[in-house]
Each structure stands twice: as structure tokens, then as C-alpha cells.
């Protein structure tokens, strides 16, 4: 037990992303309303984006632009942040927005068709057909 708490505290970013991911997954599985499911899906995606952003963070480091590019200074990799995870997440955010857009568009189509967004009511209507 005494080991567990420092492990959790030291790797808190992982615990946060896992918690968020599970909240999202729970919403997708358990919620009855289609829009709530979509929100859960978005939380799920955001959790992974946060995971990537957190692994690219470094205390006391700066953006990877050489301040003394013309001089003969030694470049210390320690002083710079790896920008790649953040850049990747720009793409993932775009993908997430696109997915959200498609999901909401589909939800509108479903609503126009069944006049409800509650899954059990829609399924009841389908069974009646």
C-alpha cells in the first residue's frame, strides 16, 4: 500500500486519462440517449488526446527553436520539448471534430425519423413496424 500511492502520484497523468476514458466508455455503453452517447464518445477521444499531450510535456523546457542558431553553443536536448506528440494531436483533434460532426448529423437524421433520441423508444418503434 505504501508503494501504491507514490506510484499513482508520480504517474498521475496516466490515471487521469484512464479515468476519463472509462467515463466516456461508460457513457457510450450505459446511456440511453443518443446524444449522451456521442458526448461519451467525445470524452473518450479527448482522454487519448490528453494522454498524448501529457507525454509530450516537460518541466522547465522550451519550444524546439534554437535561440542561438548561429553561435557555437551546444544544443542540449534536455532543454527542449518534443513537439511531435502535440503536432500529432492537432490531427487527432481534427479527426475528433469530424467524427463529432458526422455523429451529430446522423443523430439529427435519426431524430427526424423517430421523433426521439432515446434508444429504447426508437427500438420500441422499430419493433412495432
Amino acid at each position: 500500500m505504501s508503494d501504491l500511492i507514490p506510484t499513482i502520484v508520480a504517474k498521475y497523468n496516466y490515471w487521469i486519462y484512464i479515468t476519463l476514458m472509462m467515463i466516456g466508455l461508460y457513457a457510450i455503453i450505459a446511456k440511453n440517449n443518443l446524444v449522451k452517447k456521442i458526448v461519451g464518445m467525445n470524452i473518450f477521444q479527448t482522454a487519448i488526446i490528453l494522454f498524448y499531450v501529457s507525454i509530450g510535456a516537460k518541466k522547465g523546457a522550451t519550444i524546439p527553436i534554437l535561440e542561438h542558431g548561429h553561435g557555437h553553443h551546444v544544443v542540449h536536448a534536455v532543454d527542449y520539448v518534443n513537439p511531435l506528440p502535440h503536432v500529432l494531436m492537432l490531427t487527432a483533434i481534427v479527426v475528433g471534430v469530424a467524427t463529432l460532426g458526422v455523429a451529430l448529423a446522423l443523430a439529427i437524421r435519426v431524430y427526424n425519423q423517430y421523433n426521439t433520441l432515446e434508444e429504447d423508444e426508437i427500438l420500441a418503434q422499430i419493433r412495432e413496424e
Partner: protein, 496 residues
């Protein structure tokens, strides 16, 4: 020009999607020729690329001239060369065959449909050709998002099924992204070959194992591997014919390709089969997938939905074959990617023709079809024979390799599952033949019985169907050449 084939494969359909969406505003009639032209150039490039690979071996194409691992590189070897040809040819044939059914089902949405269609092909081809793990994720989502649109386009229950598919598909893609994140933490690289170079020292690391498993789970959700299959049957059944005959043959097969790429290239067979020690349970899972797919197919009274459950069983074939951990099983799995794509296309095109004429694929609608649509049903019989595994159709040969692999691995459960599913396929398809063979029951004492006149689908739908049916037999006859000249080089020497 031949040097640029890898780029053309992705760029041509991407640009033609832009042109089609503009052309759709001006004149809808231009959309179809542009689609076919774009896909034909793509198919030509991918065949040319495969021939080059056969000549020269692995081709590395640096996009923008940036050297890997910093830049994105396309790697084409025998494995994805083969899959590229299959994907582009299936997409081209289906585009030609489905013209009439699109005009019938949603005449006002021809422009958007073809735009999405070509974009989806771009995504699928990109997944196959790329050598960058993150690039693969983006293309995966391109293929998935366009797929949701294509499924929802038909109306009816399509949008709801597409939405359910979207939830599952997004979770799958996110899992894949998470796995790639772990790989990136451990190796600092996203280039597949570079990751493969760095990884061997890290094979004992828990994070690497987690990365592999998480990626696998993501890919399994995307390929509808039982028990992660729940989205597939409804999504494929409620999609319009033209979409389902594109999505059903290709999406699951491309995801199988991604799985095999992970096992063989990014990781080594040594890691996947020996260090990880999960191949036995996975093969048992695929045994369950095959059996459940077969049993669920038996309960269906709708031809299209029955076929979707057969797809789930077929996914089990390929996952099981790949995880048997020997060369013959892997050969069978790779061969089955090509064969299953073609035979699924064949039966779905036939169903598309039936739906075009009869307006439904429920079993009650199918009566008397052998007289009404003899040519469509003839091609359907060839596709069904291939799914059952009757020689000389290609389905027999890949099943043969899979069963030999199961025997060599000593995994008799998998062998029994394959035989069981073949037998169930016999029952399933002969039940359909029986229904189609007899005329509709007439109430009037049978005296004034008029057999329905022949009412066949248009020629533009029949010719591609015949071509696919002929390909099924041809691929079956030339299986030996495909295995010896292509698949033999796709599997690393280390795997025996």
C-alpha cells in the same frame, strides 16, 4: 510514371473526389465517368506497382523526398501489393456495377455518394500503402467516416445503424491510437520499419506488450471479430446496395491486413507467437467467432443479413489462420484476404441485383428467382460455391491452406470449426437455392398458374458480376502461382 505509382494510388482518388464533388453541382451525369476514370487509373497503378514489386522487391516511396523516419514513407512489398490490387479492382468493379442501383435508390444524391465512395477508397488504399503508424490512424478514420456516410445514405434504418457503427468504430480507432502512443513512448518513432528496428531490445517490456494488445483490440473492433462484432450486421444490412457491396468486401479485409502487418512487420512473428504467448487463446476465440457466425447466420430470414453473419465467420477464419503461428496458416489467411474480398463482392453484387428488381432481400421475396433472374442467380451460385469451398473456386484453396495449417499446428478445434462452418454454409446457401428455385405458391388451385417472365437486371450490372464470378474461378485455378510468386515473399523467412 511508374516511379510515382505509390503516390498515384492515393492522390488520384483523393483529387477525383474533389472533382466529383464540384461536378455534382454542375451536372450529375459527369460524376460516374469521373469516378470510373479515377478508379481505373488507381487500379492500373496498383497492378503496375504489384508487377514492379514482383520484379524489384520492396519499394520505398518517400513522400515529398523526406527521408524516413522523419518523413512519411510508403512501403510496398508483396503483402500490401496484393491487397492494393484487390482493393482497387473491387472498388472499380463495384462502381461500374452499382451505377443503376444508385440512380434508383437516391437519384438526388449521386454527387455526394460518388464523392464519399472515392474518398473511402482513398482511405482504404492509404491504410494499405502507408508505412507510418500514425498516418495509418488518420486514413483509418477517413475510411471510417466516409463509411458511416455511405451506410446512412440509404435512409430507413440506415442512420441509426450507422450511428451505432460510429460509436464502435471510434472506440476501435481510439484504441489503435492509444496503442501507437505507447509504441511511440517506447521507441520514439512512428515509422513502421524504424519501430521494428528499435523494438527487439524492448520485447520483454510490459508497455510494448500492452501497446501490441491495445492495437490488436482496436483493429479487432474495426474488423468485427466476435464478440466485438455487434455493429456489423445491422450496418451492412441497412446500407444501400451500392455501399454495402463496397464496404462488406473491403473494410474487414483491410483491417485483417493491418493485423497481419502488425504481426509480421512491426513486431516479428517470434514476438507475436512465442514471447507474447497469446496465440492459443486467440485461435480459440476465432473458433468461437466462426461457430457463432455460422449459427447466427442460420437464424436469419433475410439474405443480406445472413451474408453479414457469414462475414463474421470469415473474419474468424482469417484471424485464426494468422494466429496459428505457422507458415501455412499465414499463407491461408493472406490468400483468404484476396479470395474473401472477391467472393463477398460477388454475392453482394448478386444481392444488389436482386434488391434492384425485387425490392427486398427477405426470403419470401426470393421465390422463383432462378426463372426470373437466371444470370444473376448463376453468378450467385458461383459465389456461394466459393464461400462453401467447392473446387475449383478460390474459396476451396484458401480453406485448404487454413485447414492444413490447423493440422500442422495441432489445433484440431480450429480445423473442426472450419469444417463445421463449411457445412453450415452448405445448409445456408442450399436453403436459399431451394427457395429461389420454386415458384411462388399460387392460391387458385394451380390451374391458372403463369410462371413469371424473365426480368433480369440491366447489362451494366450483370457484366461486372460475371467478371467477378470468372475471377473467382480464375484465382482458384492460379492459386499455386499466387502463393509461390506473391504470398511466399510476403511472409518473412523466419516463420516456418
Amino acid at each position: 510514371m511508374s516511379l510515382q505509382y505509390p503516390a498515384l494510388i492515393v492522390v488520384v482518388p483523393l483529387l477525383s473526389a474533389l472533382v466529383i464533388s464540384i461536378a455534382g453541382w454542375v451536372n450529375k451525369r459527369w460524376c460516374f465517368p469521373i469516378t470510373v476514370a479515377g478508379l481505373a487509373v488507381t487500379a492500373y497503378s496498383s497492378v503496375g506497382l504489384l508487377l514492379r514489386v514482383l520484379d524489384e522487391g520492396v519499394i520505398v516511396y518517400k513522400l515529398g523526398g523526406w527521408d524516413p523516419p522523419m518523413g512519411i514513407a510508403y512501403y510496398v512489398d508483396h503483402l500490401n501489393g496484393l491487397v492494393l490490387v484487390v482493393v482497387s479492382v473491387v472498388a472499380l468493379l463495384n462502381a461500374i456495377a452499382s451505377k443503376k442501383s444508385i440512380e434508383q435508390e437516391f437519384p438526388e444524391k449521386i454527387g455526394p455518394f460518388y464523392t464519399l465512395y472515392v474518398l473511402m477508397v482513398t482511405g482504404l488504399l492509404g491504410i494499405v500503402v502507408t508505412g507510418d503508424a500514425f498516418n495509418l490512424y488518420v486514413l483509418l478514420e477517413i475510411a471510417a467516416l466516409t463509411g458511416y456516410g455511405l451506410i446512412a445514405m440509404g435512409g430507413g434504418r440506415g442512420p441509426l445503424s450507422a450511428l451505432n457503427y460510429l460509436y464502435m468504430g471510434t472506440i476501435g480507432a481510439c484504441f489503435y491510437l492509444l496503442g501507437v502512443g505507447y509504441l511511440y513512448i517506447m521507441t520514439g518513432s512512428l515509422n513502421m520499419v524504424d519501430i521494428a528496428r528499435i523494438l527487439p531490445d524492448l520485447y520483454q517490456s510490459k508497455a510494448v506488450m500492452a501497446a501490441f494488445i491495445i492495437c490488436m483490440v482496436g483493429v479487432w473492433i474495426k474488423m468485427a471479430f466476435f464478440p466485438l462484432h455487434a455493429w456489423l450486421p445491422n450496418a451492412y444490412t441497412h446500407a444501400p446496395s451500392a455501399s454495402s457491396s463496397l464496404i462488406a468486401p473491403l473494410v474487414t479485409k483491410v483491417m485483417i491486413y493491418v493485423m497481419i502487418r502488425f504481426i509480421l512487420t512491426i513486431f516479428t512473428p517470434e514476438f507475436s507467437f512465442n514471447i507474447l504467448a497469446v496465440s492459443k487463446p486467440i485461435v480459440w476465440l476465432s473458433v468461437i467467432a466462426i461457430c457463432m457466425g455460422a449459427i447466427l447466420a442460420l437464424t436469419e430470414r433475410n439474405l443480406k443479413k445472413m451474408l453479414t453473419y457469414i462475414i463474421i465467420a470469415e473474419v474468424g477464419y482469417m484471424v485464426g489462420g494468422a494466429w496459428l503461428g505457422n507458415r501455412i496458416g499465414m499463407t491461408g489467411a493472406i490468400l483468404h484476404i484476396a479470395n474473401d474480398a472477391l467472393m463477398t463482392l460477388c454475392v453482394f453484387l448478386a444481392v444488389g441485383n436482386i434488391v434492384y428488381k425485387v425490392k427486398g432481400a427477405e426470403f419470401e421475396n426470393l421465390q422463383g428467382l432462378f426463372r426470373k433472374m437466371p444470370f444473376t442467380m448463376g453468378a450467385f451460385v458461383i459465389g456461394a460455391m466459393s464461400m462453401i469451398g467447392v473446387p475449383p473456386t478460390c474459396g476451396f484453396f484458401s480453406k485448404w491452406y487454413l485447414i492444413s495449417g490447423a493440422i500442422q499446428a495441432g489445433h484440431y478445434g480450429f480445423m473442426v470449426a472450419l469444417l463445421f462452418s463449411s457445412l453450415v454454409n452448405v445448409v445456408l446457401f442450399f436453403r436459399v437455392f431451394e427457395i429461389c428455385f420454386y415458384e411462388p405458391f399460387s392460391d387458385h388451385h394451380g390451374h391458372d398458374h403463369h410462371p413469371e417472365p424473365m426480368d433480369e437486371a440491366p447489362v451494366t450490372m450483370l457484366v461486372p458480376l460475371f467478371i467477378v464470378a470468372a475471377i473467382l474461378v480464375l484465382v482458384g485455378l492460379y492459386t499455386g502461382d499466387i502463393v509461390n510468386h506473391i504470398i511466399e515473399f510476403a511472409i518473412p523467412k523466419g516463420l516456418v
